[in-house]
Amino acid sequence: MIHVVVKLFATLREGRFAEETREYQSGSDVAGVIRDLGISEKEAALILINGRHADLSTQLNDQDTLAIFPPVGGG
């Protein structure tokens, strides 16, 4: 098992959390985490792992910090 600090932003916090340390299977990727959180792929516009740009297929390591941002496009 690995422990990942998950940070959610803007609307993604609603009904979830702002920041939590969560446990996942070794080899889990970002897609698995957002599925676990009930976040759709189109809601996860920007994904950062340890401050670096990542994608849905990026694998997570123990102690990673995963930050997920929804698309904000209004003007």
């Binding site: 609307t11 792929e41 809601e43 929804p70 496009g73």
Partner: protein
């Protein structure tokens, strides 16, 4: 420290402004030029108030309207503002405030781009939206508003929908673009046009309590990195809408970025994203690889 990538300074026709400069110096109070003198000089010498403003600033005189800027911006900075053309793409929630603040700052030329007219649902947040203006052009409202605030600022109102097809034409002579759009797809086209023209783009977007700001400088592709996964989709604003205060906050942050880029001081939000959360009152900056 960031270097500016564009050239502000163009040759002055010294002879044609020499006389008016003598007049302006005679009417200045210290180095501050009252508006009445600026307007009188324009009438007497057959010049626009804009031309008089440039003559004053190049002579080291500060139009009195900028007195409260001067601890933040020098007269030389004001001249840089005056000689800068900023395109504001979208004249709605963000764009209304952006145009207002650019004009009060003393930006010499503003290209205001928006194909739309005001509708009733704009009245909750758009600075330029009034009951009287319902059904009228947003771009033209921007020009009308600026002429009331600062007649030395030229506004080119373009009632066109920005795209990568017309972007190069709309941005002729533009030094900096400000993103005040409401579409992610069009934003990415705007980012492409700015990259092609090698001009800075100050991005802002909003949804509900939330917003974000980025300065994409020539060579960067920050917006594509941010939005690449959802280029075709709508943002969360489609469900959240936008209240009155979020566009004012994010527009002000965008104008602060524009000001810094012009005077070449401070640290813009470059290769990074400023994330604004007014619900939890959090401002966070994240690095975004370009």
């Amino acid at each position: 420290m960031i270097k500016t990538h564009w050239q502000f300074f163009r040759p002055l026709e010294e002879d044609s402004v020499a006389d008016v400069r003598i007049y302006l110096k005679s009417r200045a109070q210290g180095d501050v030029l009252p508006w009445a003198a600026q307007r009188a000089a324009a009438a007497s010498y057959g010049m626009t108030v804009a031309a008089v403003e440039e003559a004053a600033l190049t002579a080291g005189l500060l139009p009195a309207r900028y007195q409260r800027n001067r601890k933040t911006f020098s007269t030389d900075d004001q001249l840089k503002f005056f000689r800068t053309t900023v395109a504001v793409v979208g004249c709605g929630g963000l764009g209304g405030y952006v145009v207002e603040e650019l004009a009060r700052l003393g930006i010499g030329r503003i290209v205001a781009i928006d194909p739309d007219v005001f509708e009733e649902h704009n009245l909750n947040r758009q600075l330029l939206a009034t009951v009287e203006r319902l059904g009228t052009s947003k771009a033209e409202a921007a020009a009308a508003r600026v002429s009331e605030i600062n007649p030395a600022v030229s506004v080119i109102a373009l009632k066109e929908r920005f795209s990568k097809e017309n972007g190069l034409r709309l941005f002729e002579g533009v030094h900096i673009a400000v993103d005040a759009l409401d579409s992610i797809f069009t934003r990415l086209e705007l980012a492409d046009v700015c990259r092609q023209l090698t001009i800075p783009l100050v991005h802002g977007s909003i949804a509900g309590w939330y917003g974000q700001v980025v300065s994409q400088l020539p060579g960067d592709s920050t917006l594509h990195t941010m939005y690449g996964r959802c280029a075709e989709g709508a943002g969360v604003e489609k469900e959240l809408g936008n209240p009155s205060f979020t566009p004012a906050v994010v527009a002000s942050l965008e104008v602060a970025e524009v000001a810094k880029l012009i005077v070449g001081r401070g640290a813009p939000v470059r290769q990074a994203m400023l994330v604004v959360n007014l619900l939890d009152m959090e401002f966070n900056k994240f690095k975004i690889g370009c």
